[in-house]
């Protein structure tokens, strides 16, 4: 039986307000100058009154204290300075009694070198289990090139140990040897430590430094796949043995790189959003919302059960690792003018000093913290605006004793002041006489009272912890405006408009709230009604640094109706459910009663908005109707088609398999399905839970059985590729894959993958159509074989696609990014010039060889797609005059649209981008030259065939020695007809060339983020690699495709067409960057400029 948690809601952390504190710094009960658990217990009432709901304790374990407790010498005990294990238990119980959860640190990447495990390891023979608790090597060249994190103090990640006569590995300080997770005993010990604390009742664990758990040669030793295996194991143990516990990941990385630590909801529940924090400060100082909207646009969706952890400050420096060099320089100049304020790659200051002790600025930043999507984490002392002491070493300036009152030692301790672990702050502005809890408790206008009120207000609205985020983008960029919206299981909706003025002066703004027309904004702090919203822009005037939270309420009903009668009348009168299905539940889909169906349709909008695969999150759903249902034999589930209607009238069709569980069975599956519950429904006293059936192994097994059995029913039909089918497919277990974003992949061991499509379009999906052709007609080997598929009979839309499983080491993008990171790092360390052939061949030769292989495989794919056939869908055709007109029209339209947008946004660009943009606009006249080059004899432009359609490095799978090409679905934003149109294969070529360009620059950006200054040499390598890769790819492609000369255009036409297609692709990228990632705009802009100049 699972051990219960103090919280009953499995998602409690989504609504939590976390308070981070150090036992040492909070309150001293025994007058030794060091805070302790008894002191902390005496302050729990204060924390309860503050309103925080979860306490995060920094490490309190026995430790030599060389890294503020993160160098642990004993996992299962309490540092005697802080008390005893009984004291901790007493604290835990007291916190729980006040409805507060407790999160502690699980530092498992490393231990102190004083830990008995390490001492034993040093003395144990090489290769022994004791020695292998840590990572040892006879050479310090293993894992060569892995970056050093603490560059101020460490010169290598290896340190020689005289006793062991080997080097040991450490990613942090030399006194913190890394544990060796390749030794299963390590994980066992870690799990034992975890159980020790969880058995006591600890509610959450912060996993420190998890990207570094496992090392692999040839990698950056960060985020390697095996690390995720370890985390999944830890999570599995927690889920199996404990209820409602929390795991929070510390991974100081870009949101895209943190995303895998959520897994499919089977790794960490929460992860810090590190890059947001510096950008909030940047936006405030620059009085421009862009840094915030930009980073949020780059923040991927996470599983519904997961949550971001947000913070303004913490016990470490304000990290500037996740910003560009320019941004870092700006932040240092803006917030750390005194060099003593800086440490490592960050700023060691508290919140209040950072904003010059300006109360309005503090309130504004806290309003963002409390209203952004995620769980807010507050750092002790910031609620009273405590200052820091930059004259203390390391990051200790922000770790001084809590200031309780104006008595000796700020009321923290009654010890002789010299005994304090750090001195209290004593200057006239920040000193404890001026800033302390007691004074602020008696001051009704204090920051402490304000913070209490804001926390209480946030807790009243679950939308802040659970709702969606949509930015409004008014013209005035000094104003940040966003909508938080959530629909809850009980049907109630919370919609909140947040508006913040980032400027020190009053600002006007007009917000486009037309989609909320008719609603009544209610100012949330004072419950003040604002004028109702209409179709016109909604004007607001904001005081300096002010913010508004407005609940957008539906107007109250004018007449009161009977909730019971009303429900019946509403459902019977207004719904158009197919009468036969509702009238004859026994005949079909028995698990969904009529009442349940109605409730289900009401619950689906909220469910859809939480799904990664639902692509219209920015739209407002008007209604969802279950339009079709089909039984799958033996599945205990139905496959349904949802018709999703949006407010603007558009309709999308999504596929959703539905399963239901009732009564006593609920308990047995509640944990497994918790992330995908659509509805909890009570009927006749029986509770039923409806959930996404993909979680149900029976459904998955039934689906594959129906596919390979070529089954057919009134609604569905399956087709198979008989020759390719593995014989034992039905015997393997299945699981849900984590990589797929817009559909759902079900993985059957190492045999097959079944892709269940989510958004349906009328007609067969090109992915299935092309894969079937390549498997059965062209016999093309470099794509996973088509095994079978299921289609809806009513309109031939593809329901599911079964493909052979292809073992691989990741996609082409990931492969090339790793390779480039390695090349750049080695080039920098060797100071090698890319212009020296020997150096280039040595560092990049193997990579360029692989690019050549990609060129060949691409050509072979096109040759396969041009395989002679009578099938009109695939038969190759020469270009006609009409085809050329169509290409010219398409490119002209795209380019003009992009240039118009460029012109309209010129004022918002950086200086360099604006300069390039003006040059591009000046070249508008060259469009004619470009279009002219696409005229002439159409036969000279080669053949049109079915192509990949959305070809880039991400569509390749890297295997041990080769590449596979996948996902022939085409650009999802285009209609099915457009995607099935035959085109010149050069369109795919253009796509891949642009992908090389992005890879070179993305790897460069990543490299520069981790180095402290600009790297001209590495920039030269980036340019050289892109050029070499482009050349190698094109040469290899041309050579391989030459076996069918009619496929390719003549050389002049080919050059023109390729340039035109590159321009088309680049303008698409430019539009994307302008709308989503302005910091990346320079990339397509430069390429577009170059290409347009070449057409002059």
């Amino acid at each position: 039986m699972k051990k219960p948690c103090s919280a009953t809601d499995p998602l409690w952390y989504k609504d939590a307000i976390i308070y981070e504190l150090h036992v040492r710094a909070f309150a001293d009960s025994n007058d030794d100058g060091i805070g302790d658990f008894q002191g902390l217990i005496s302050k729990l009432d204060y924390l309860q009154d503050l309103g925080v709901t979860c306490l995060w304790l920094l490490p309190f374990f026995p430790s030599p204290g060389k890294d503020d407790g993160y160098d642990i010498a004993d996992y299962n005990s309490v540092n005697p300075q802080y008390g005893t294990i009984e004291d901790f238990q007493q604290f835990l119980d007291a916190a729980h009694a006040r409805n507060m959860q407790v999160m502690i640190e699980l530092v498992i990447n490393h231990t102190s070198d004083q830990h008995p495990w390490f001492q034993k390891a040093r003395h144990a023979p090489k290769g022994s289990p004791e020695r292998n608790m840590y990572v040892w090597s006879d050479t310090d060249k293993l894992y060569d090139g892995v970056r050093i994190i603490f560059t101020d103090t460490e010169k290598s990640n290896w340190t020689w140990d005289e006793v062991a006569q080997q080097y040991y590995w450490h990613r942090f300080f030399a006194h913190q040897p890394d544990l060796n997770f390749d030794n299963p005993q390590v994980l066992d010990e870690v799990l034992n430590a975890m159980r020790f604390w969880m058995d006591m009742g600890v509610d959450g664990l912060r996993l420190d430094a998890i990207p570094y758990l496992v090392e692999r040669d040839g990698t950056s030793c960060e985020n390697v796949p095996e690390t995720h295996v370890i985390i999944k194991k830890i999570r599995a143990v927690i889920d199996a043995e404990y209820e409602n516990r929390l795991v929070l990941a510390e991974a100081n990385m870009w949101p895209d790189d943190v995303r895998p630590y959520f897994g499919d909801g089977d790794e960490c529940h929460m992860a810090f959003h590190f890059p947001l924090m510096p950008r909030i400060y940047m936006a405030l100082r620059q009085e421009d919302r862009l840094p915030i909207t930009d980073i949020m646009a780059r923040t991927p969706d996470i599983p519904p059960s997961c949550q971001w952890g947000l913070f303004l400050r913490n016990h470490d420096e304000l990290t500037l690792e996740m910003v560009t060099d320019d941004e870092r320089d700006y932040m240092n100049l803006a917030y750390a003018s005194d060099k003593r304020m800086r440490i490592n790659v960050g700023i060691r200051r508290r919140l209040a000093p950072l904003v010059d002790n300006n109360r309005r600025r503090i309130e504004l930043l806290n309003s963002l913290l409390l209203s952004f999507p995620g769980t807010p984490i507050m750092y002790y002392g910031d609620e009273i605006g405590m200052g820091d002491n930059i004259y203390l070493g390391d990051r200790n300036g922000v770790r001084t004793p809590m200031q309780w009152n104006s008595d000796r030692n700020a009321g923290f301790s009654r010890a002789v002041p010299a005994m304090l672990y750090f001195p209290v702050i004593m200057d006239p502005i920040w000193g404890y006489q001026a800033i302390n809890v007691e004074a602020q408790e008696s001051d009704p206008s204090s920051l402490l009272q304000w913070t209490r009120n804001m926390i209480a207000l946030r807790k009243l609205f679950q939308v802040f912890g659970r709702g969606t985020l949509e930015f409004l983008l008014p013209d005035n960029r000094k104003v940040l405006a966003y909508i938080r919206d959530a629909k809850f299981e009980d049907g109630h909706v919370e919609t909140v408009l947040c508006v913040a003025n980032l400027s020190r002066f009053a600002q006007p703004v007009a917000l486009d709230l037309a989609k909320f027309a008719g609603r009544q904004p209610m100012e949330m702090l004072g419950y003040v009604p604002f004028p109702p919203i209409s179709e016109s822009p909604y004007p607001l005037t904001l005081a300096p640094y002010s913010f508004l939270w407005l609940e957008l309420q539906q107007l109250a009903p004018s007449a009161v109706s009977d909730p019971i009668t009303g429900l019946v009348e509403d459902s019977e009168a207004n719904r158009n459910l197919p009468p036969a299905e509702i009238a004859q539940p026994a005949q079909k889909n028995e698990l969904l009663s009529a009442a349940l169906l109605r409730a289900l349709e009401d619950a689906l909008p909220a469910f859809l908005l939480k799904q990664r695969w639902f692509g219209a999150k920015s739209r407002t759903i008007k209604s969802v109707r279950i339009a079709s249902r089909a039984d799958i034999a033996g599945a205990d589930a139905v496959l349904s088609i949802l018709e999703v209607q949006y407010e603007e009238g558009l309709i999308d069709r999504y596929q959703l398999p539905l399963a239901a569980v009732s009564g006593v069975e609920i308990q047995s599956v509640a944990t497994e399905i918790s992330s995908q519950v659509i509805l909890r429904f009570e009927e006749n006293g029986t509770e039923t839970i409806v959930y996404d059936a993909c979680l149900n192994p029976r459904f998955r097994a039934a689906l594959i059985k129906a596919t390979i059995g070529a089954a057919s029913s009134d609604e569905l039909i399956a087709k198979i590729s008989q020759n390719a089918l593995p014989s034992d497919l039905l015997k393997v277990d299945s699981r849900i894959g984590s990589a797929e974003q817009s559909n759902t992949s079900i993985i059957f061991g190492d045999r097959a993958i079944l892709k269940l499509y989510r958004r349906l379009q009328i007609g067969e999906n090109p992915d299935v159509e092309i894969a079937r052709f390549l498997t059965n007609v062209a016999r093309y080997r470099n794509t996973p074989a088509h095994l079978g598929d299921i289609a809806w009979k009513q309109d031939s839309s593809t329901s599911a696609f079964l493909q052979k499983f292809a073992p691989n080491t990741g996609d082409g993008w990931g492969w090339i990014m790793e390779d480039l990171a390695r090349i750049y790092e080695r080039a920098a360390s060797l100071s090698a010039s890319p212009n020296e052939e020997a150096h280039f061949a040595d560092l990049a030769g193997a990579n360029i060889e692989a690019v050549r292989l990609i060129g060949r495989r691409t050509a072979e794919m096109h040759l396969a797609l041009a395989t002679p056939t009578d099938d009109p869908a695939f038969k190759a055709e020469p270009h006609s005059a009409g085809d050329l007109v169509e290409i010219r029209t398409r490119i002209e339209h795209q380019l003009l649209t992009a240039l118009d947008t460029l012109q309209s946004r010129l004022a918002t660009f950086s200086e360099e981008d604006a300069r390039n943009a003006k040059k591009v606009l000046e070249l508008r006249g060259t469009l004619n030259n470009l279009l002219q080059s696409l005229k002439g004899d159409p036969q000279q432009f080669g053949e049109r065939i079915r192509i990949h359609g959305d070809y880039h490095l991400g569509q390749l799978l890297h295997t041990a020695e080769d590449f596979l090409i996948v996902d022939f679905e085409g650009e999802p934003g285009r209609s099915l007809a457009e995607r099935r149109t035959k085109q010149s294969p050069l369109k795919d070529v253009a796509g891949m060339l642009r992908s090389f360009s992005y890879a070179a620059n993305a790897a460069l950006a990543t490299y520069e983020q981790t180095s402290s200054k600009e790297q001209p040499l590495v920039r030269a390598w980036s340019a050289a690699w892109e050029s070499a890769a482009t050349t190698a790819f094109l040469k290899s492609y041309q050579s391989a495709v030459s076996s069918r000369p009619e496929l390719m255009p003549q050389s002049i036409q080919g050059e023109s067409l390729l340039r035109a297609l590159l321009i088309e692709k680049t303008t698409y990228e430019m539009m994307y960057e302008m709308n989503n990632r302005p910091l990346w705009l320079h990339l397509p802009l430069q390429v577009l400029l170059q290409n347009l100049q070449e057409t002059v």
């Binding site: 009704p444 206008s445 009272q449 009120n453 209480a456 207000l457 807790k459 009243l460 679950q462 009980d490 049907g491 109630h492 949330m524 702090l525 004072g526 419950y527 003040v528 309420q553 109250a556 009903p557 009161v560 109706s561 009977d562 909730p563 019971i564 009570e682 006293g685």
Partner: protein
Amino acid sequence: MATSIGNDISNTDPEGERELSQAALSSDLLVCLPPMVRETREHATAAVLAAFPTASLRIAVTELDTLSADPTQSLLVPYEEARNQTGWALHVTDYLAAATVARKYDKQHVLLLGSDAPSELLLQSLARGLTQSHADVVMPRLQTSATDGLVNSALLYPMTRALLGQDIRFPLPHNIGLSRRALERLASEAQREVSAGRSDSLLWPVSVATAAGYSVRQLDSNEHLPVPAVTDFNRLFAEVIGSLLADTEARAINWQRSRYVAPAHSAGEPLATSAQDPDADVVSMVEGFRVAYANLLPIWSLVLPPQSLLALKKLAPVPPQAFLFPPELWARVVYDFALAFHLRTINRNHLLGALTPLYLAWAASHIRCAAGDATEAERLVHATAAAFEAEKPYFVSRWRWPDRFNP
């Protein structure tokens, strides 16, 4: 706001259909009787059997005499836990005990009674509300005179109506009909109270049901409001109002979401007007208020804003024959005390003690204005409740931003 009086089905059913209906009513029914002496219990069980003459019924009693030759013995089932002995309102132990029996005998509808002599009509109306109207909570609207149940009229009813949007006239029940799921939810809350060592706590079924999204119905009844046997009014007042304010605090999220009054769907017995109007010492209550004004002003100043204090100052010298406590002022006073209770501005017992003389002032005003007329008294109660509704935004804003610097 509507409190329509529905059809009394029991009065219109033909006799033949009535038996059928009663059998259907009781097939899944458990009736829980309060503790009582044997003779009284026999009367009570007879009343229950008259209302539901069927063998599938179960009647839970606290002290089951297994050797009894009573022919109804087979229908009786024991309570395993002790029930509340106070009798005037249901307490947490009542819900816990009822839930245990309901689970044991798998009953889906439960009548939980505090009356030792329930009428046949009341029993049937409660059961009908559960089984035919599919309500989760069915509560009787009791008969009162102009001076009965004034704590309910001054605080419980207006707060319930304004904050929860439920027009339930007597939200602290003596007799109640509950669906199984509503009972389970109440039992769960009750268990939490017992675990915290508060076995004598009250529960607020309307609040619990509203938070869960369950339907609540009210039926008209000729039953009279039970009179607590407690002689210490101050203690009783603190117990009931303390519990109400604690519930208000616990359900802040729910009542801030509710924006209109749901109808109560009254149905059941026709209303009868009570002629009883016992003397009440208005003069002494007003005098008590004056004394309190002189002594408690420093405490009231911690709780009430200047405008309310000014209004009280003006009220203090008004003679009893002209004494009028405006309902809007009363609503704000109660809301500000609820907020102070939440913020723990002062010790909660002291706070409730400071509210008592203000309540007596309202009661004096009410009694004087009603002048013994039950209909007028009811009109005044509704005016008070309407004032609570009108002032709800004031309460929400105070709750969300409890700055002392306010008008």
